[in-house]
Point group: C2
């Protein structure tokens, strides 16, 4: 390891987001990101495997948060309430992150490879959620369907949160989407 750089990861993320916004994701190099952050390329590669991972570096934390959030529900809770507890934990972590989420979304929408990576991330979250539900004793196909329903709620809520005017939280849109899904499947 080289010398300690205060908040190197955050500075690299900030520099990368600026450059992706200014000149586009494809046109930005790791050399430029490191330079903008005032750090070396070696430091970049200590924190991220490549320039794409700057945008997806939070995926593992998101999955951990989701799976840990399941634990907030009592053992006897119905699967959908367990999923709702996990989504609440994730929504809370998004507070104050809307500007970042908006910029990230803009960069991802403009690039097919990044859109694919985002789909893979959501599929991985769904698989992790289904596995955690099975570990709690939820049978199939209920575990997979509760997990898929949870990811659908997350996806729709996230779109509405980033498309909105910023006055309402991710938590608001998560609850709205979950209620809408309940109403839809009940035949409303």
């Amino acid at each position: 390891m080289g010398r300690w750089e205060p908040n190197a990861r955050g500075r690299l993320e900030q520099a990368a987001m600026e450059l992706y916004g200014e000149r586009g994701y494809e046109q930005t190099t790791v050399t430029e990101i490191a330079k903008r952050a005032g750090l070396s390329e070696r430091t970049f590669f200590r924190h991220y495997a490549d320039k794409r991972e700057v945008l997806f570096g939070g995926s593992a934390a998101l999955q951990d948060l989701l799976v840990a959030g399941l634990g907030d529900a009592p053992a006897s809770a119905p699967a959908i309430d367990v999923v709702a507890a996990a989504l609440d934990a994730v929504a809370a972590s998004f507070d104050g992150r809307r500007e970042f989420a908006l910029r990230r979304q803009g960069i991802i929408s403009a690039n097919a490879e990044l859109r694919e990576r985002e789909l893979i991330k959501l599929a991985s979250l769904s698989a992790a959620l289904a596995g955690a539900l099975r570990a709690r004793g939820v049978a199939e196909p209920a575990a997979s369907l509760a997990a898929e329903a949870g990811i659908a709620v997350f996806k729709v809520a996230f779109e509405r949160w980033t498309d909105g005017d910023g006055t309402r939280s991710m938590d608001h849109f998560t609850h709205e989407a979950l209620e809408a899904l309940r109403a839809v499947t009940a035949g409303a």
Copy 2:
């Protein structure tokens, strides 16, 4: 166009599936597929853009079937019943196709690029379904959630149909998954 080749598309699909199974998707070339089918490379490219599209050539037809299937539900039907009608139309089209589906699934599972392409296909189906529901007057977020729910049901049912012993139809697993989703979201 060259001379007419009887069932060229079907012969190319058959040859490609055989070769992907025998030597792996990556190791198979278009030249070999055409040769196995007893056709020219030119004929191959009249039917498929590349070797990947042999596995995804049915996606457009699947989407058309799904969207057309919505029309089987009365105008006043709840969104979930409209989605169920679309899934019924798709399930019926899978009758007699389980062996093909199993082989296709085996090839796709073994290759990261193909798994990504499959996720894109499902996301496109969901977007098409949501658009068709909005065109029928279903508001957001209900339209997106009903579409996502439909694709979740399709995905889980498809996995259970291909994992099963072949005695029950895709239609059976579609109904099973839809009922399980209803029970899950109702808090069962």
